[in-house]
């Protein structure tokens, strides 16, 4: 009994719009959570509730199933109920500028502290110069300078007095001070000196020697005098500065009395202001050029030194933060230290510390795309280190790898309390679990997102609510129930299964947007079924340039595929080509040739390394089937070769193994195969046809070719019977089948398939173990027996040789 073609209702499982009680999606409420992700949502809630170490979450699933939407939804609700974390500021460390201090303040007070310090600096700038420019200060300074001048003069005067008494002058030279005998204010010339009595000359020499020592002692005492003077001026400046600044800083202490860290900082600021009061006095006349240059070159001018760098400001936050970092580089995760150019040199200070996502998410939640984290140098290691040590450490990357010896900042580390949610594909989760020993310790909770859900009346209604939710969020036109039914069907087609619905929200959302656009262009208020259908067709049309080219070349005879007539050892196989998100079926001619040999089936694709391992496995299986079924009791002397004609790329998968077997059986039996049929399905060693993937695309691929050449009513595709539930064929295929112009045959065994293809009974073994005469199997057995006999004859020694041996 030949296999009957499938009835049209089995070719595409329609959604019945009459089951929907709504007229359009405008009547439906939004979905509260992403469709079909109850398990993932439960895992997320579990992970969020557990505060223990390492209970970070990995949300896994393919792109577009709504991972980020669900994570944001769940985290957002939870975070709103939690307390707002504190602000963090970085302050100058007056004891060690290289190690800025991190100070925690209640939420919102970081900015206030920064403004207070700015105001303080402005007030100091006004108050300190006013005191230092006052008459009192000037008078005190003049008194000190006069005292120094008098001491200097007194010291020099003593030398000059003594020299003058002995007729010797102290004269300034370009290098220093000289001692020489004078008469009437003029230095003696050498002649005058030599005319003096020798005793007089000796006395002058002796006096000059004595005076020289005295002069040296006096000059040596000068730096000491100046040092004492400077100390006195400094002491006075400290006193005056404290008078000017002390009460201003005291005022500022009051609002921060509850924050010891701030009070300690204000103490340090006061000490620094008093010690460096000249920073507030500008480049006055009293300041020498060297001091001005030092000030210009100073890396931290006064205005910066007393500033407050607010790295985390939670002033306007409500609840705990939920941060999604789209570009998780090293710097954007743990923060960075900026530099600015100062007289051609790159310099930095505490005010150039910039926060990262970990700072902003501290006390809350950080959501990251794991693929992006892994793509960024250092980011993955930074993230793990922060989670392991529970603190944020800002270090330049060059220091992390030990490349740089230049001095930079080492900001104090900030304690970290954050829950990280990674979004990524399953492959990445399993790779990390396999190869990174720390991964499972740090990410103990996995939230696995479903890619499809079971299809039934309830889930179709949920799908309708998904259409309503997405439509509202993207401000689309409402969808009527016919349109919703078409979307449901497309959801099943995306799942590749008539009994499932895809949860790939992104793909559905794109379809809705495009359908809504088309409805708008047609002037419709609501989206109708035709709009969804047009959107689906439009997508295919935009993506199918390659398919059309292949089809065209097949029609033109460049690619040899027959859709009519018969041929021995030749069958139409079907494969799927995936180009981005678009997949289509492509017929391929598979041929088999047989000859006498050693029981091998040669897979030409494998021989030239164009066939993958699964394809090779399929070929070996069919060799096993052939041997077991037809050559159980005699040598298997067949040598066969199989090839995908005109295939220049790789071939992978075993979905063509049944087609290859049919080609072999045809070649062995000599029975021609109907070229109006195409075949897909894998075969096992028992001759059973097994399910394959992409059944819809494969059928449509052959249908398109047949339709292009004109449907004859004789054409069709043999598919595994176990694939019938996956059928969600295009409406034109279904319509052709309904009209009897195209057929889809569900096949369970090789025998069913070969009967359809050859029009000859396969035949079953009788009680005598033989296949009925004229059947396909009998012909195959006979051919193999003939080959075995001939092989035996070849293997038998020649007559002469035999006689010799017998003798």
């Amino acid at each position: 009994m030949p296999v009957a073609p499938l009835s049209p209702d089995l070719l595409c499982r329609r959604s019945d719009p009459s089951r929907f009680e709504f007229r359009s999606t405008a009547e439906l409420a939004d979905l509260e959570e992403p469709l079909g992700q109850a398990r993932a949502a439960e895992a997320l809630r579990f992970g969020i509730a557990l505060r223990g170490e390492g209970y970070n979450i990995f949300a896994m699933g393919p792109v577009g199933v709504g991972k980020q939407t669900l994570v944001s939804h769940v985290l957002g609700r939870r975070a709103a109920e939690e307390r707002t974390p504190p602000d963090w500021v970085y302050l100058n460390n007056f004891e060690n500028r290289q190690q800025p201090r991190a100070v925690q303040l209640p939420a919102g007070r970081g900015t206030a502290f920064r403004e207070d310090m700015q105001r303080l600096v402005e007030e100091l700038r006004a108050a300190i110069p006013a005191v230092f420019e006052s008459d009192d200060y000037r008078t005190r300074l003049q008194v000190l300078e006069k005292q120094l001048e008098e001491k200097r003069e007194k010291a020099m005067h003593a030398v000059q007095e003594r020299a003058q008494q002995r007729g010797i002058a102290v004269i300034r030279t370009p290098m220093g001070l000289a001692l020489a005998p004078v008469r009437n204010g003029e230095v003696l010339d050498p002649d005058q000196f030599h005319q003096l009595p020798e005793e007089e000359q000796a006395r002058i020499q002796k006096d000059i020697a004595e005076l020289q020592e005295q002069l040296q002692a006096t000059l040596r005492s000068m730096p000491q005098l100046e040092r004492e003077h400077r100390e006195k001026v400094k002491d006075m400046n400290r006193e005056v500065a404290l008078f000017a600044a002390g009460h201003l800083i005291d005022e500022l202490r009051k609002p921060y009395a509850d924050l010891p860290a701030v009070l300690a900082h204000l103490d340090a600021v006061q000490r620094d202001v008093v010690e460096n009061v000249h920073d507030f006095l500008g480049s006055g006349d009293g300041e020498d050029a060297a001091a001005q240059i030092r000030k210009l070159l100073s890396e931290t001018p006064a205005t910066h030194r007393y500033g407050v760098n607010v790295v985390v400001d939670n002033g306007s936050a409500k609840g705990a933060p939920v941060v999604y970092e789209d570009l998780p580089t090293h710097a954007s995760l743990v923060g960075r230290i900026d530099h600015h150019s100062h007289f051609g040199t790159l310099v930095t200070d505490f005010s150039l510390i910039r926060s990262g996502a970990l700072h902003r998410a501290n006390g809350g939640y950080l959501v990251l795309d794991v693929r992006k984290v892994l793509q960024q140098p250092f980011a993955w290691e930074d993230l793990k280190r922060a989670l392991r040590t529970r603190e944020i450490r800002i270090e330049p990357p060059e220091r992390l790898i030990g490349l740089s010896g230049t001095s930079s900042l080492e900001p104090e580390r900030i304690p970290l309390d954050v829950k990280v949610v990674l979004l990524g594909e399953r492959l990445l989760y399993h790779l990390l679990a396999e190869y990174d020993p720390e991964f499972l310790e740090l990410f103990k909770v996995a939230a696995d997102f479903e890619e499809e859900i079971d299809r039934g009346p309830a889930s179709e209604l949920e799908y309708a609510r998904l259409v309503a939710t997405l439509g509202r969020s993207q401000v689309l036109r409402p969808f009527d129930r016919e349109a919703v039914a078409r979307v449901v069907e497309e959801g099943a087609r995306l799942a590749g299964d008539g009994e499932k619905l895809s949860t790939h929200v992104q793909g559905i959302a794109d379809l809705l947007r495009e359908a809504s656009q088309l409805a708008g262009e047609a002037g419709r208020e609501a989206v109708e079924r035709t709009d969804v259908q047009a959107a689906v067709e439009g997508r295919i049309r935009r993506a199918d340039r390659v398919r059309q080219r292949l089809l065209e070349e097949t029609r033109r005879g460049t690619i040899l595929i027959a859709t009519a007539g018969t041929a021995v050892g030749q069958v139409n196989g079907l494969s799927v080509v995936q180009l981005g998100q678009f997949a289509f079926g492509r017929p391929s001619r598979i041929t088999a040739r047989v000859r006498m040999g050693k029981g091998e089936v040669v897979d030409i694709e494998r021989e030239v390394e164009l066939g993958g391992p699964i394809h090779s496995k399929g070929v070996l299986i069919l060799a096993g089937f052939l041997g077991a079924r037809y050559a159980e009791d005699r040598p298997f002397t067949l040598s066969a070769s199989l090839v995908f004609e005109q295939s220049y790329g790789g071939v992978e998968g075993d979905s063509a193994s049944s087609a290859e077997l049919y080609a072999l059986l045809s070649a062995l039996s000599g029975l021609p195969i109907r070229q109006s049929l195409a075949v897909t399905g894998s075969v096992n060693q028992l001759g059973e046809i097994q399910a394959i993937g992409g059944v819809n695309e494969k059928i449509e691929g052959f249908f398109d070719l047949c339709q292009a050449r004109g449907l004859t009513g004789d054409q069709g595709v043999l598919i595994p019977a176990s694939n019938v539930k996956h059928l969600m064929l295009r409406s034109d295929v279904v319509e052709a089948a309904a009209a009897g112009r195209f057929h889809v045959y569900p096949v369970e065994t090789v025998d069913q398939g070969v009967e359809l293809l050859t029009g000859t009974l396969a035949g079953e073994r009788g009680p005598d173990g033989r296949f009925p005469e004229g059947t396909v199997n009998a012909r195959v057995v006979a051919r193999l027996a003939e080959m075995a006999e001939r092989a035996r004859a070849f293997a038998a020694p020649p007559q002469g040789a035999k006689g010799k041996a017998d003798a």
């Binding site: 370009p174 220093g176 020489a180 230095v187 003696l188 000059i208 020289q212 040296q216 040596r220």
Partner: protein, 280 residues
């Protein structure tokens, strides 16, 4: 009484020894020459006493930087003097360039005061710094500046502190011919862009001061009478008390009775904190 004729300043002589105060004098002189349209003459004097020091084996030198002592090497000394002269010449070129002044530079060797006084003959104004390479001798200008102020045949500007454009000009007027010259010079400075002129009226009574003010206004012949300030009885102490602003420029007649001769001049130079222009 006739109107004063403003005395022209065509040649301004500056004494240089590459010390900081002489360079300040140079800058002030350059600015003044630019305002007056005068030519700048610069004289670098190699002190003959320094030259002799190098030749005198008994002379000893103590360096200021290290305190090391030893004899002076004549060759080193000569080289140092040449280097100082070269530095002074560069400074002159730099000071004159912004004003595009006509300038000259020459080097003389001899007694500094003597050479300076000799060179001043023929100049219209001599500008000297507060103190050159001399050992500090207490407050006020040094020996050379004092000698120039007392004995130069021309007007002398002694720079005590810096001189800035726009600073007020204070002229002492007691009715004497010397104070008339001072008034004339001060008026010329004011006209050339210096600050506003105030006449310090040295008279025993307010009435006498009023008469002096009228006399000054008449002498200047301007439409607007200059500001006048009575400073008391015409003694030097009154002038010193009246000139307390360090940023003023004091103009006084060298032979004005108020100044009281050379002793008075010495005292004035010791006690005022601003530049003094002695008019001759």
């Amino acid at each position: 009484m006739t109107t004063l004729e403003a005395r022209a300043l065509r040649r301004i002589l500056v004494a240089l020894d590459a010390s900081r105060s002489s360079l300040e004098a140079l800058r002030a002189a350059a600015a003044l020459a630019a305002r007056m349209g005068a030519e700048l003459e610069c004289l670098f004097i190699e002190d003959v006493n320094l030259v002799r020091l190098g030749q005198l084996p008994v002379a000893r030198q103590v360096t200021l930087t290290g305190g090391a002592a030893g004899p002076l090497e004549p060759l080193n000394l000569e080289a140092e003097l040449r280097a100082m002269a070269a530095r002074a010449r560069e400074a002159v070129a730099a000071a004159a360039a912004p004003f595009r002044l006509s300038w000259s530079f020459r080097v003389a060797r001899g007694q500094v005061s003597g050479e300076l006084l000799t060179a001043a003959v023929g100049a219209d104004l001599l500008v000297v710094g507060r103190a050159g390479y001399a050992v500090p001798r207490g407050r006020g200008p040094g020996r050379v500046a004092r000698a120039a102020a007392a004995r130069a045949p021309v007007s002398v500007l002694v720079l005590i502190g810096d001189i800035q454009p726009g600073r007020p000009v204070l002229a002492v007027f007691d009715g004497s011919p010397g104070s008339e010259r001072a008034l004339s010079l001060a008026a010329r400075l004011e006209g050339a862009g210096a600050g506003s002129l105030t006449v310090l009226l040295a008279a025993p009574t307010r009435e006498a001061a009023g008469r002096l003010a009228d006399q000054a206004a008449q002498l200047l012949g301007g439409a607007a009478a200059p500001a006048g300030r009575w400073i008391g009885g015409g003694r030097l102490s009154d002038v010193v008390r009246a000139v307390q602003e360090p940023d003023a420029l004091l103009v006084v007649g060298a032979d004005s009775p108020t100044l009281g001769g050379e002793a008075g001049l010495e005292r004035l130079l010791d006690e005022v904190a601003c530049p003094v222009l002695l008019a001759r």
